[in-house]
């Protein structure tokens, strides 16, 4: 198959590929943000238990 033709999407490249790009961004963000948040939560909790342990 002809790749240039495939990417041109019959002249609608902008609309088709923007849609797929938007989907990729949304799907990746919804995984990346909770993963980053997980690190933040773990760090915060580690600090929390350290302070709690010291105050005892």
């Amino acid at each position: 198959m002809n790749w240039a033709e495939f990417f041109s999407m019959g002249g609608y490249a902008l609309y088709v590929w923007s849609s797929y790009a938007a989907a990729a961004v949304v799907l990746l963000l919804n995984i990346a943000l909770p993963l980053r948040r997980r690190d933040a939560v773990l760090n915060a909790l580690r600090e929390f238990y350290r302070l709690k342990g010291r105050s005892r």
Partner: protein, 251 residues
């Protein structure tokens, strides 16, 4: 008797302590299934499905738009059902599920709106047309924003979860009414020249990528929801010894 065992079994998995590691083992499998299904859906949608005789290659936008729109409604229903379960049976796990649903559902709604607009420009000649489905989707997006805003403005997680659950239930009762009203309004005001969105003649080569993407999005939703639920469980259960042990063992 059997019911009692089922209840006890459910209770065991509904406890955050059991659910947390269970979710941890499920996530890689769900993520793997999501990736495989997405790959298959993209292959079917981009290479196998033929261009539509009317819409041309833009029909491929449907393979994102339609499943995203389905998911936006499905996730709202899950959120409302989880909220109802949390209100009635007081299950903490359901509160975390409902809270995980809101941002994921809102982003599917946003995706449906963006792709709808990207489809509309070449087909209708405008970035935004007050099409019945797009309008319903826009209102659904506002409903999601409302749930998230309400949750964000309440500090106490219990109260936030219960208030959001009531709002989601009110929303779920209203969604069919809103949908019906918008359809009515649309048929009344729509000039006949503007074609209706979607509804391509459902051919198998179109249906297969649509369904595959829809299943892929469902697995994706489960993965993303479990990730969010685990974070919230850690935060809400920080006063328990199992969370402390878990955090301290991960240096």
């Amino acid at each position: 008797m059997v019911e009692i065992y089922i209840l006890i079994g459910m209770h065991k998995y509904a406890s955050p302590k059991t659910f947390y590691p269970l979710a941890g083992t499920l996530i890689p499998w769900l993520a793997g299934a999501t990736v495989l299904l997405l790959a298959l859906g993209l292959y079917l949608g981009l290479f196998v499905a033929p261009p539509d005789y009317q819409q041309g290659e833009t029909v491929r936008i449907m393979f994102i738009h339609v499943p995203a729109a389905w998911m936006s409604m499905f996730v709202y229903a899950v959120m409302a059902a989880a909220g109802a379960a949390a209100l009635v049976w007081n299950v903490k796990l359901m509160e975390t599920l409902a809270s995980a649903c809101a941002p994921i559902g809102a982003s599917f709604t946003l995706l449906a709106l963006i792709t709808g607009s990207l489809w509309g420009k070449p087909m209708w000649g405008a970035w935004w047309v007050w099409d019945a489905r797009l309008t319903s989707e826009l209102i659904l997006f506002f409903l999601y924003i409302g749930v998230m805003a309400l949750r964000a403005s309440i500090d106490d997680p219990r109260r936030a979860a219960r208030a959001a659950a009531i709002l989601a239930l009110v929303g779920v009762v209203n969604i069919p009414v809103i949908h019906f009203s918008v359809e009515w309004w649309n048929t009344l005001h729509q000039p006949a020249s503007v074609g209706r969105m979607g509804k391509p003649t459902i051919h198998l080569s179109i249906l297969m990528p649509l369904l595959t993407m829809a299943v892929a999005f469902t697995f994706y939703f489960l993965t993303a929801a479990l990730l969010r639920m685990r974070n919230e469980i850690l935060e809400r259960e920080k006063h328990t010894s199992w969370v402390q042990e878990l955090v301290e063992s991960r240096r």
